[in-house]
């Protein structure tokens, strides 16, 4: 996105909140998705602290296409107990990517994915260490 468009988007989003989501966290996350991307979808994730640590608790299904490059941008509300993390699982149940390194604990707020297999994928979200939190995941198409 060029700078002018970003500024106008930042100004206009609160004004257009009447009929729209009006969620400042979504707006902020869309804007932080970076340049040369086209917004496709956002997921607003709000979870309490998990009683047990296991499967990611927020699941959505998303069709991704071969030869497309997608960017996943993960944002957190300041009061979140942990950072928003995600996994992408293909239709055979294989984990294609995860936004964190389970060995080092490092998390990535941005993940770029070059898709080579058209199909439906599960996008799973949770908060690091299964903490409570509020976050937004934005999927964009890299131009």
């Amino acid at each position: 996105m060029n700078k002018l468009a970003l500024i106008l988007l930042a100004i206009s989003l609160p004004l257009i909140a009447g009929g729209q989501s009006g969620d400042p966290l979504v707006s902020k996350c869309v804007m932080s998705a970076g340049s040369n991307v086209t917004y496709l979808k956002d997921f607003r994730v709000q979870l309490g602290k998990a009683s047990s640590q296991g499967e990611f608790r927020y699941k959505q299904v998303f069709a991704l296409s071969k030869n497309m490059k997608y960017r996943f941008t993960l944002c957190n509300a300041s009061e979140s107990g942990g950072e928003l993390i995600m996994k992408l699982i293909d239709d055979t149940g294989r984990t294609v990517l995860q936004s964190f390194d389970p060995k080092t604990g490092k998390t990535y707020p941005t993940v770029e994915f070059t898709c080579n297999k058209t199909g439906t994928y599960k996008i799973l979200f949770d908060f690091k260490d299964f903490q409570q939190g509020l976050g937004v995941g934005v999927v964009s198409l890299v131009k």
């Binding site: 009929g19 998303f62 296409s65 941005t110 994915f113």
Partner: protein, 304 residues
């Protein structure tokens, strides 16, 4: 006292009728009976199963992105210009055409044809109002953004976000059949656009994209399946999709498995999938898919 109570209830109903966050009771007051799906039909495919079906089937933005990469020039001939929003009488027609025009809007916006997109936006607004989801389209702002081409990113965001919100809202309010129709409309128009372009501009990437729609079409059929018995319009649409599936029957898609490659770059994780899919589709199969897609799409846009 009863009259006063009645007026109060009526006033509250009117107040809440335009409200996005209206409760289930208010929603029942606003929406016509045909919008409600009988429980038995809805249960044919559980909510969990429906949740396993992607809602972003064939984003028009992605198709337009491929066309731009192919340097295919914009053509208004691909648009569903014959749709007259004010002549759509049933919720079925309104929802399906809302999807078709949504795909056209994505195509127009990606090609920066924002002048034309204002006309499409007007039709979209009418259709959305007709199924009580007009509140998700801030028409004036969208129009303003359309007139100012420097705001293209905002326009694309707002347009797509409006559709995403409508889909979510319809599902939450037990009107999943309208959401399914909208998604079907987007897919049919995207498929039409891709197959029509292929006729003039043969391209391997786009051809494979059309072939791979075999996978997506199966999902779409599952999405629509719970509503096939809702009436003649629904059953005809289900038959259309089955007919198209038949044309795809001998298209072969094979996969080879690979391990994803991951690197860190500028603080971001960059992942390249090394799985590969291969589409085998003959010219005859493509021709049959193109003809059937065109027939289905044209019948829906001319049946005003």
């Amino acid at each position: 006292m009863r009259i006063l109570a009645f007026i109060s209830v009526l006033a509250l109903a009117v107040i809440f009728s335009g409200c996005h966050s209206s409760s289930g009771k208010n929603a029942r007051f606003v929406f016509p009976d045909e919008d409600s799906v009988p429980l038995a039909q809805a249960e044919q495919l559980s909510e969990e199963a429906l949740d396993d079906i992607a809602r972003n089937i064939s984003s028009p933005v992605e198709i337009a992105d491929i066309l731009q990469r192919m340097h295919v020039p914009f053509s208004s001939g691909y648009l569903a210009s014959s749709i007259d929003a004010s002549r759509q009488s049933t919720s079925f027609d309104k929802a399906l055409k809302l999807g078709i025009l949504g795909a056209d809007l994505g195509y127009l916006n990606m090609y920066e044809k924002t002048g034309t997109s204002i006309d499409v936006l007007s039709s979209i607004k009418k259709l959305a109002d007709g199924i009580n989801v007009g509140q998700f389209f801030d028409f004036e702002t969208l129009k303003r953004l359309s007139l100012n081409r420097t705001n293209l990113d905002s326009l694309l965001y707002m347009s797509l976000d409006s559709y995403n919100q409508i889909d979510k809202f319809l599902r939450e309010k037990g009107r999943g059949q309208l959401s399914a129709l909208m998604i079907t409309g987007v897919w049919i128009e995207g498929q039409y656009l891709a197959t029509q372009v292929l006729k003039q501009f043969p391209d391997t990437l786009l051809r494979n994209r059309v072939g791979e729609q075999k996978v997506i079409l199966n999902d779409l059929i599952m999405l629509v399946a719970p509503y096939c018995t809702l009436g003649n319009e629904y059953s005809a649409l289900c038959k259309d999709l089955q007919e198209l599936r038949e044309k795809y029957r001998d298209v072969r898609i094979t996969y080879t498995i690979g391990e994803p490659q991951m690197v860190e770059k500028d603080g971001a994780l960059v992942v390249v999938q090394t799985d590969q899919s291969k589409v085998e589709m003959t010219d005859e199969q493509l021709e049959a898919i193109t003809v059937t897609t065109e027939k289905i799409r044209n019948r829906h846009i001319t049946n005003n």
